[in-house]
Symmetry: C2
Subunit: 329 residues, 2 copies
Amino acid sequence: MFSRLLDNVYIMDTGTVCGILEHQGPLGMYFDKYYQDYYCHEKTFEKAERRMLRDSLDICLKKIDMQESDIDLYLGSDLMNQNTTVHYLARDLTKPFIGVYGACSSFTLTLALGSMLIEGGFANKIMTMVSSHNATAERQYRYPVEYGIQKKNMSTFTATAGVSTCIANMKTSIRIDAFTLGRVIDYGQTDPNDMGRAMAPAAFDTFTNHMRDLKRSVDDYDLIVTGDLSHYGLKIFKEMLKQENIDTSNIHDCGCLLYDASKQNVFQGGSGCGCSALVTMGYLYSLLKEKKLKHVLVIATGALLSPIMTAQKESIPSIAHAVSLEVVE
Amino acid sequence: MFSRLLDNVYIMDTGTVCGILEHQGPLGMYFDKYYQDYYCHEKTFEKAERRMLRDSLDICLKKIDMQESDIDLYLGSDLMNQNTTVHYLARDLTKPFIGVYGACSSFTLTLALGSMLIEGGFANKIMTMVSSHNATAERQYRYPVEYGIQKKNMSTFTATAGVSTCIANMKTSIRIDAFTLGRVIDYGQTDPNDMGRAMAPAAFDTFTNHMRDLKRSVDDYDLIVTGDLSHYGLKIFKEMLKQENIDTSNIHDCGCLLYDASKQNVFQGGSGCGCSALVTMGYLYSLLKEKKLKHVLVIATGALLSPIMTAQKESIPSIAHAVSLEVVE
């Protein structure tokens, strides 16, 4: 389908900023910075999300000892209509910007796209930026949190996070060795409170194409994570794999890893582009740097729903893009 | 900044579909198909926009004698929240899809991005798709047209159009010889009814970077068009150029060309990603094929505003991306 191997794309470093629930969750210690409340010292949730993403950029730039203007190109995405967070943040940047949109799959979409531009010789250093915020996403896709609407059991919980990741053609200890771009899949699911079920077939499609295109199997990876299927969606995804006799013991989901769903009130688990980005660039990146993991596949999933089309009784299109991260020996 | 020359990217062909006003305008004869009303035989405006884009894809595929599955990758964008038109359309496609968002600049953004992926060897044939629809855009960004709200004089009129363009590494008579990616520019304009003024500085920035990066001048082009500054915005853009002693006689705007603003009730002229796409791939592409033009620069402009940020009294970020089209001798 559309999988490509890469020779020369490395992760320079990352900045990860999260909210209080993500900090209190099982992976909290792996994130660079957290805020105690959803406002992050700002007056609105939208500005709070922007501040988190800006913090993550500053943290990443500091780690790689670079200025904003040392980056050739910025690639960004968030869940707000018209990529509000990244576009309004990009006013502060002096370098070109490309906005992409793949809903919660945007994290791996920006990495795959950036990797092609670096491998193709069009840029040396690219910063990818993604964010999501529980209160901004709830307002836009469902109801403002202040309404206190009762959530359905199959719901997921949008992660509050800003994550910036610098990729470059300069050798580091971790590289992006391959990626697979996904196609839009729709199995006819119409319930916007059950994203896991809508997205699982997209994850399965991209997983299958990745393995077939690159002649790889689950055995080639220490760990395979999906983006934000969460508990219910992950179960469906694993059932689809089992029907193909694929071993699912190394397969997990970022939405399940980010929170402790038994103690934290997050329903089926985490979602949002901040979810897969936090888990990958906080937790998994640390394990890769320590060589506790050597080869990881991240399949970020996205439900491309539009509330206006849901109102017109249309089903929910979904997509998944995958990137493979490898420790450089 | 971020301009690159290209060696091996050609335009295979295009499909252009428009609404009644665009058909009745001065360039109407250049478009492949038009619909008599805003519903296009569908029940909602959103589905009408999708049908126009689907038609444009089918027309383009027929011209190049290919099936949907012969294309390696689809790149798409529209103005609806979450790229509704292209994402819901992409459910019909069996090939990978990347959604981008640059508001009305998305037309050249998809071409520039697709060009890099072809030139970088990642794909042979890429279909870029953009659409806009007056009634869907008015509802989302301003008021539903049924309300009959009086429009302000500085307003532009969103074009109703779907345009698909196939680019490839196979030689044809017209190639994309260069592009410049834009950065996000904000001069503090806060009035969402006056996009031309918000976007003119972004057009100027990209114009300046393009000429400086590639050591080109206005004399290198037969024609330079901006995307959708329309009459008022074009005037500002030209004034900025004149201050730099740049000859503006070859500079026009797609929003001014698409309609006859003196006869058609379109205020300052056309806008929307369908505007620059229609004018470029309908009108200018025809002139290039007939060799009446040899070298054209298209600087599509985009106002990256979010109504929710306008309500929070923030100014409007803008961006412009440029592509250069050249007749192959």
